[in-house]
């Protein structure tokens, strides 16, 4: 039983076919990379999986349940979390406060009008744990909006981890990062993948990151699946090379 089962999903915007009959299955604990040239429909695909908008055609199954019509927040409670191409965090709150919110939601406290001392301590402990996991502890009380891009991304990833997801969707986590930040984020992702035992689907352009992390790769081009396989298989695939370098190749 696959954790995520995307069945023949399409998404049209008027006459533009952004996602074209895509099927994909992700197993529990797998680390899958989704790659493809710009405009291939990768982010749109993520938006479909995470419930940002519905598919024009096709169904999506998570844990054998049809989630196609579920709104995003329900998918989150089912165990799906995501990050965005442009980091989505709470800029005028501190790292600690940013992390506290998903921890409380995950604990089922989102409607609680007050917290007992014991519960408060457990929440704080979990927040501290998350910060230590990602090396953010020394910046805990700084406003996230003032931090460098790498730290913001790390915070966003940890906010998603706080939800204890079984599937984590990462949309270009290393976009706009220099070598050191890319290395740090890649290491963080790999560490989390092992320690949290979750499935990760990763959109990336940086090949080093992909080859470092991925178990399998799915290649999208012009909205459709072009190829799927292990990193080595994909590297050798001529169609993939053509898609990246242009049809003339």
């Amino acid at each position: 039983m696959s954790l995520l089962d995307v069945r023949d999903v399409s998404r049209h915007f008027g006459s533009l076919i952004a996602v074209d009959h895509v099927s994909l299955a992700v197993e529990p604990g797998e680390l899958r990379a989704v790659i493809g040239p710009n405009g291939a429909g990768k982010t749109t695909f993520f938006n479909l999986i995470s419930g940002f908008f519905p598919p024009t055609r096709g169904r999506i199954f998570f844990d054998d349940r049809d989630i196609t019509d579920l709104p995003p927040h329900r998918r989150v409670t089912m165990g799906m979390a995501r990050t965005f191409q442009i980091t989505e965090i709470f800029p005028e709150l501190t790292i600690r406060e940013n992390l506290r919110i998903p921890v409380e939601v995950q604990a089922g406290f989102r409607l609680r009008p007050w917290l007992s001392q014991a519960a408060d301590r457990k929440i704080c402990a979990r927040v501290t744990e998350l910060m230590e996991m990602s090396g953010l502890s020394d910046r805990a009380d700084r406003l996230v909006g003032e931090l460098p891009h790498g730290d913001q991304r790390a915070t966003e990833i940890m906010m998603s981890i706080a939800l204890k997801p079984r599937l984590l969707l990462l949309d270009e986590p290393t976009a706009g990062m220099g070598d050191q930040e890319t290395y740090d984020i890649t290491t963080l992702i790999r560490r989390l993948h092992k320690s949290e035992r979750l499935a990760i689907v990763l959109i990336e352009h940086d090949m080093r990151v992909i080859f470092h992390l991925a178990d399998r790769i799915t290649v999208l081009a012009e909205g459709a699946v072009l190829a799927e396989g292990t990193p080595n298989q994909i590297a050798a695939d001529e169609r993939v090379q053509a898609a990246y370098l242009g049809k003339a190749a």
Partner: protein, 316 residues
Amino acid sequence: MNGINRTTTSALIWLVLLTMPYWMGAVGGYTELASRVLVLGLAAMALNFLLGFTGVLSFGHAAYFGLGAYGVGMVLKYLVPSTPLAIVAGVAVGTLAAMIIGALIVKLRGVYFAMVTIAFGQVFFFIAFRWNSVTGGDDGLTGWKRQPLDLGFTTIDILGNDKAFYYFVLVLFALAVACMALLLRSPFGRTLLAIRENERRARFLGIPVEQHIWLSFVISCMFVALAGTLYALLNNFTDPRALRWDQSGNFVIMAVLGGMRSFWGPLVGAAIFVVLQDYVSSQTANWMSFIGMFFILVVLFFPRGVAGILRRRTTS
């Protein structure tokens, strides 16, 4: 703002509020003005629960303020001469209306949400205006007074004694404000901040945004309705103008003037506004122009309000 500052600020404010009737006269005011500051301050703080802390632009809060005012007046005039009961009725009516209207509008955002809140605000104004057999129409609801509180062992004359009424209002104000403070510091309160900071991120953290906005809306309107009941009790009269769109605008400007991101800001804003309005309307018939220009100046030059100015001073 670190913890020490927050406690000191609160302590200072409570000190001022507890003693206000005693020094009010010395600075050229009067007890009734102090009560008015409390009542409108409560309304502005209640609005700010939604506006400043949840980030939702509601411009129709006068509707619920007015419903509270009419509720309390109608109970005292037609049903039973009991102030506490009348207050409960006023709050209940306002809250119920908020629950229904909130459910209708919660999918909208930004200026569209604002437009719809304004329109709904007008609905109630127009009802109060037209249904003059019950509401007194343009003249408002008259012929009733706030009743002394019968506590069994003693009676508190909040009708004849201005100071007694002030402290009565202060007690209710304190309860309401404590409630709001508690909520804002709770996990639920933090979800509201999340929605304000980044609605998309809040949604993708598993927060059902519409549901939380609805709750914030209802809570906010409930306390505004309470303020409305106190306003009517203060005047022994329900003014249909309490329901009008300009009253809504006044609440918003109070919140902005005092500082939307600050808990006590709206109270400060209300105090400034009330005093200013009182002074200007006694000096000139053109107070409307002055209030209008005041709005414009605040928006152009003091968008972060008094609290914003203070914050910049302490950090620089």
